[in-house]
Symmetry: C3
Subunit: 354 residues, 3 copies
């Protein structure tokens, strides 16, 4: 590709001299290893020093980078983009020979009942099973061994990796990615205690609804609602081994890292970030743009949007950090406290003597 083709494709702006005479880009490389014909990138300021010595033909840089102080080699060409690292990965992906993951068409061992409605240009992997009356959208790829329940719906341009299970009646939007082993729509964990100490199963009659552009990690589990729906709103990204209980709502563009668990009927706002191994109690609400740090436990609702939380039970991050710093001083302080108690007793005695 020529530099202009790459820049146009990335929506970037070319800066430099003699661009027409520059060689075409044939590969990508790290800035210290790049040679003529290579495209590289500069994302971390500590690599700026390499601009003067790199043999790369072109460098992806931030639109905000001050090029005056980074003179570089006279013939070095810059392509200004929003995020040089992401742009680099896109070029790398583009020029990497791709492995075709999904064969076209419906494999002869896949099972598709005649009452299922199948979109155009879909791929159904070997041994995948589509439920009765299920609906699969255009250009969607269903991996090997996936199971789509009866009356379930999967939108268009989705990718389901192998062995995903979507239970009956659940509804999945467009451009959704589900990684291997994810389970969508298992029964919520609901049991009514009986007088004799045993439990009666509460029927779980609702479904899971996953909106457009959601990605769900490997072996993550999302339970169906008791009544109504467990709802993952558009653009949410959920990592591996996450537990989403029944009737939970996850807001738009909220990101949830691995091994986090959300208890039943809790509502997480939009644009939140939950780090790994977080636990959230049931029947509470978390405001938009809340950030929850790793391993925190949230016992009650968070009403004010845009704040960070840490600890179990969690507190505002700044407060919690002060507590954790104080905790480390506690053993020394206890010793000093005992010493101070003795000193005060001594003072009392002396005062009495006077």
């Amino acid at each position: 590709m020529t530099i202009h083709e790459i820049a146009e494709w990335l929506g970037g702006k070319v800066v430099g001299n003699n661009i027409e005479s520059a060689p075409d880009i044939e590969r990508v490389a790290k800035i210290e290893e790049a040679d003529s014909g290579s495209l590289t990138f500069l994302a971390n300021p500590k690599y700026e020093k390499h601009l003067g010595t790199t043999h790369a033909t072109a460098v992806l840089v931030s639109r905000k980078l001050d090029l005056k102080k980074n003179v570089g080699r006279a013939s070095l060409i810059f392509i200004r983009v929003d995020d040089p690292y992401v742009a680099f990965l896109h070029v790398l992906k583009h020029i990497t020979p791709t492995v075709e993951l999904f064969a076209t068409g419906i494999h002869s061992t896949a099972i598709v009942p005649s009452n299922a409605i199948m979109g155009k240009n879909i791929s159904i992997g070997s041994h995948a099973v589509i439920g009765e009356h299920a609906i699969i959208g255009d250009n969607t790829k269903i991996g090997v061994g996936c199971v789509i329940g009866n009356h379930a719906q999967v939108g268009s341009e989705c990718i389901l990796y192998p062995n995903v299970v979507v239970y009956h009646q659940c509804k999945i939007g467009n451009r959704v990615i589900l990684h291997a082993g994810a389970v969508i729509g298992s029964d919520g964990f609901g049991f009514a205690p009986k007088a004799d100490g045993t439990y009666e199963k509460i029927p779980q009659l609702g479904i899971v609804v996953i909106d457009d552009d959601v990605e769900i990690g490997a072996n993550t589990t999302i339970d169906r609602a008791t009544i109504g729906d467990t709802h993952i709103h558009c653009g949410a990204k959920i990592d591996n081994l996450v537990q989403i209980a029944h009737n939970v709502v996850i807001g738009e563009h909220t990101v949830i890292a691995a091994q986090t668990g959300i208890s039943g009927s809790t509502k997480i706002g939009k644009h939140c970030m939950l780090a790994g191994q977080v636990g959230i109690a049931g029947h509470i609400e978390i405001a938009d743009r809340t950030v929850i740090m790793a391993q925190s436990g949230i016992p009650k609702s968070i009403g004010e949007p845009g704040k960070s939380y840490f600890g179990t039970p969690a507190d505002e991050a700044r407060k919690a950090q002060r507590v954790y710093i104080a905790m480390k001083m506690l053993p020394d302080m206890l010793r000093e406290f005992t010493a101070l108690q003795k000193k005060v007793a001594e003072l009392e005695r002396k005062l009495l003597e006077k």
Copy 2:
């Protein structure tokens, strides 16, 4: 259904006037939305105010509700039951057109060896694989893609959702529900350290035994014993993504929420409640009716039954909560402590001057 039919079916008691002239129940609805022909329920006291205005034909109420102070509409009919919400869900389930999840019979793509013993009226989903000499009880439904190991046993009236794996020789009782992706009988995590710092695998020769009326969540893992068995006793309910290590015993009617992990050889008593993300050390015993709050870590045995625990390492909940409240006061207290130290030093100086 008539009101009398519903009451009889639920084991409830009808209270009201002109019951014979009441319309049949045709649907269920929330108390504020119910109309003639609707059944509704009252579980939460804050909804009692709706009793005076609801258009429902009948209301499921607790046997303990004082109906004198809740006069309601003159023609309103009450059905007294133990748990109005659960009763409501049962009626809802009864009148909801059901999706048949499991086709009858053995699918042509399922693999059933001739030496397996298959009960009456069973369902084996497509691509499911039954092991050599396995035994499946009457009326049991094995979902799509399930794998039942050689010599394994599954009782009668069980439901196995898709892609469950039961390893060889494991034994599952009657009316057991296993959700999608659950793994029963994987090797316990046992390795003997060798002098050179590497590990030798300890053979895991035991099995998993799951008793009657147990429910196991999606993607939960239960390891087989080293020798003997990992045993889940009757009526236990285990949520999604739970880890049960080798040789663990879970007592009858104990409930374990999502992402909790029980280390090897630990014995959990009967009627315990373990909340989400709890961790329990190995080789300990937890007394009956113990309650363990979310994210707690239990490092040693709990001998006295019926108590609540919280924290890592956990303490009795009341003690632990006092500690957590005190922790939040710690940064302020440290500041005051330094001030007090100065004040005492000043007193000492003054006393010396006198």
Copy 3:
């Protein structure tokens, strides 16, 4: 087997009288239940008292056991080995009639493309699917329903239990054991935030490399690298439901217990031991032989090898334990602190009066 055969097979040393006239070993048993023809073991010192009364023909004992003070029955024969319990399990395994878990050959329902390279003497279970251009080594057993991606490689003498998914291009060494439902090579969790608060998926172009003699637990997930590889070095043992993020490196012979999560680009040293439910932050390094106790959270690099850590955020175990002990004294100390403040104020008043 004769006692000499067992000793030779275990690499042990026989000690005792009249060994030639001893009966052959026909079974194994606990020391208190063993009879003539039985082999038993002594691992825990508190069972030494049984040496005088056991009817066993032979006892596996440690090479370090002082036999002079444990006279035992005159005809009792000892086999000295490194680890009597492990040796016992090996004999038990040897004499236990084994269930053949994997049928020989390629099942007729398995799918193996003609361009895949298949080793000698392999087993491919029913409904397993091998990817295009995949390579499977000699004597490897691929369980029912496993999915091996396009261009993926699995070495020789591996065991993959049912429903394992290995994504495209990932490379697995020799003698690797993958338990049911494990997912190797799912996309790393990488999204670039955009100006409008939505996210763009960062392509995950790398792979997972698993070296020889690794064991991976059930439903564990290991993400592929963004570029390069997520690398599990030789001899590492990873339990169930563990999350290994993209570009993580796990050192040789490191052991990771269930439900632990390692964030992206973190490098764990050799011979480390991570207990259950541990969380490790991203982009950090953990020194060799580090021990991390259960439920701990590690926010930053650990540079010094061979130390133990505990807590969230974690501290050296000895320090952390002092803090936890001090914490429990905190509520009482707060009360005493308030009393001391009053006492000092009183002293100040009295001093002023004088």
